[in-house]
């Protein structure tokens, strides 16, 4: 063989080598991408099952204020029960501890580690009511227009029973008290709207509790109206209030619940006493008794000589995300289910993405 023949042979061999490696890459890369996306889907489905159907460990971590993120052995939001457990029923305390402003917040990186996702995957949870409820006051009066829409198509929801009651700060007499209005109720028309009229309410510091019953599916909403309503947090039987506010020892706490009656949903309250215990930057009041499925707790508190309404809402709408929501990732997978929290129907969406490819 001549020198040029060797050279040509070497060039052909190099060409074959380069072409083969390119082919291998072209063949394997799409397959790898498909396989990793499938893995992401399967992981997301398993993760949502774990989060919604497992109670976590310890199982009472939601209402047990001594359990912090460091004490958790596994992460799950299902309601704990000693005997039977209903699927897709979540513990309100566990859900509310995913709210960043909650004093006993569970950081998302802790949940990430407990779920075994490590640095490979990231996730976010979005919890929203199954029906879109919009409330607008009419001309600054105590007449409210309630509008119901389905979440996806935005279609009006007709024939839904809507009930509402207001709790307001009353300064009549020597001690400030929480008073309530009569129960107002109505049914949505074909346009998904109805009016709730609470008549004369002698205060601008008030809380509106709404409940909607659409053929058995219940959605509840809690609104603090006015600037003198301060947020509080209820975890188990502990009522946490900003350290600058205080509740007089003789002031009762109103525990608001929603129950079913022959005419539709009914909103009522049970009064409870509480005693104060020291707890860091928050004032911690332990309620003497707590009714099951409590929707909100309202009481009168005082700051710098001014009376406020302290409202601890148990409405479970929130987003649990490591940063901006929705997450700005190239590929993510979304799974959703419907769950019940304190008798109300919510849609839980899990967004999952890969942090490394």
């Amino acid at each position: 063989m001549q020198v040029h023949e060797y050279l040509v042979t070497a060039m052909i061999l190099v060409f074959i080598l380069v072409t083969s490696s390119t082919l291998v890459y072209l063949v394997s890369d799409p397959l790898r991408a498909v396989s990793e996306r499938e893995q992401l889907k399967v992981t997301a489905q398993k993760l949502l099952t774990q989060v919604l159907l497992d109670a976590g460990a310890p199982a009472d971590w939601g209402g047990n204020t001594s359990v912090t993120a460091d004490d958790l052995h596994s992460f799950g939001l299902a309601e704990e029960s000693e005997s039977t457990r209903t699927a897709y029923v979540l513990d309100a305390d566990k859900v509310l501890r995913l709210n960043r402003s909650n004093p006993l917040y569970i950081p998302i990186h802790a949940a990430n580690n407990l779920l075994g996702l490590g640095r490979e995957y990231g996730f976010a949870l979005e919890i929203t009511p199954t029906l879109g409820v919009n409330v607008a006051a009419r001309n600054g009066s105590n007449e409210f227009e309630v509008s119901l829409r389905s979440e996806y198509a935005g279609l009006p929801v007709s024939n839904a029973k809507v009930a509402g009651r207001m709790y307001y700060l009353s300064l009549n007499g020597s001690t400030p008290m929480v008073h309530d209005t009569l129960l107002a109720w109505n049914e949505t028309g074909p346009d998904g709207r109805c009016i709730l009229d609470f008549g004369e309410v002698p205060s601008d510091v008030k809380v509106l509790i709404l409940t909607v019953d659409h053929y058995g599916v219940r959605v509840t909403k809690v609104y603090g109206l006015g600037t003198l309503v301060v947020p509080a947090y209820l975890v188990g039987d502990h009522f946490f209030l900003d350290g600058e506010c205080s509740v007089s020892p003789s002031t009762p706490f109103s525990e608001i619940t929603v129950s079913d009656s022959a005419d539709g949903p009914c909103i009522g309250r049970v009064l409870s006493d509480a005693w104060s215990v020291a707890n860091g930057s928050y004032r911690d009041y332990v309620l003497a008794h707590i009714v099951p499925s409590v929707l909100a707790v309202v009481t009168v508190c005082e700051r710098d000589g001014v009376n406020y309404l302290a409202l601890a809402s148990r409405e479970a709408s929130l987003t649990y995300s490591p940063g901006a929501f929705p997450p700005p990732y190239v590929y993510e997978y979304e799974v959703e289910r419907v769950v019940i929290v304190e008798g109300s129907a919510y849609r839980v969406k899990l967004y999952m993405w890969r942090l490394s490819w």
């Binding site: 063989m1 001549q2 023949e5 040509v8 042979t9 052909i12 061999l13 074959i16 072409t19 083969s20 082919l23 291998v24 063949v27 799409p30 397959l31 498909v34 396989s35 996306r37 499938e38 889907k41 399967v42 489905q45 099952t49 209903t86 699927a87 897709y88 199954t130 029906l131 389905s150 979440e151 996806y152 198509a153 279609l155 929801v157 024939n159 659409h214 053929y215 058995g216 599916v217 219940r218 799974v335 959703e336 289910r337 419907v338 019940i340 129907a345 849609r347």
Partner: protein, 165 residues
């Protein structure tokens, strides 16, 4: 003599090159065939169907637990399809087609067996032949005894929108 030997070697060399090219071509063909065989295995269908099955159970479970069946089916001679359809729409993700058929269990005339009587037309949001054309279709069923003692057999068929087989 020397020229003859060089000619033979040169031909052998050329043959080696041709062999190498042929070998590379065979490898390429094998790779292509393998890709063709592996790629359309449609793994995604399996995971989507599994998710639809769970979603179907989740929907039926929430319907019976919330008392939707009592509110919409019971007390009506004819099944109120539009009411149920609105409720189901509130539970399901967008781009999901469904068809819910409700059967009521009744005692057979001979008093021994049980017969299934369909309550009204199936409730569906799917265009005709959607389930026949979908790549993945899930079917979930549930037996439910209402508070008034009626026994229902619920069959929910679901498919993802925007996918066809």
């Amino acid at each position: 003599m020397v020229t003859l030997l060089r000619g033979k070697r040169s031909r052998r060399g050329q043959l080696r090159v041709i062999e190498a090219v042929l070998a590379a071509s065979i490898i390429f063909v094998v790779f292509s065939a393998t890709t063709f065989l592996i790629y359309p295995s449609r793994i995604w269908v399996l995971s989507e169907k599994a998710d639809l099955n769970v979603l179907g159970y989740n929907l039926l479970h929430q319907m019976v637990e919330s008392g939707v069946i009592e509110e919409t089916v019971e007390g009506n001679e004819t099944l109120s399809g539009s009411r149920l359809k609105t409720v189901i729409h509130g539970f399901l993700p967008s781009m999901t087609y469904f068809e819910l058929t409700i059967y009521q269990c009744a005692e057979a005339e001979d008093g021994v067996g049980v017969i299934l009587q369909r309550r009204g037309e199936p409730i569906s949001n799917a265009p005709p032949d959607t389930f026949g054309r979908s790549a993945e279709v899930s079917s979930t069923s549930m037996v439910y005894t209402s508070k008034s003692g009626n026994i229902y057999y619920l069959v929910l068929v679901m498919a993802r929108g925007g996918e066809s087989g």
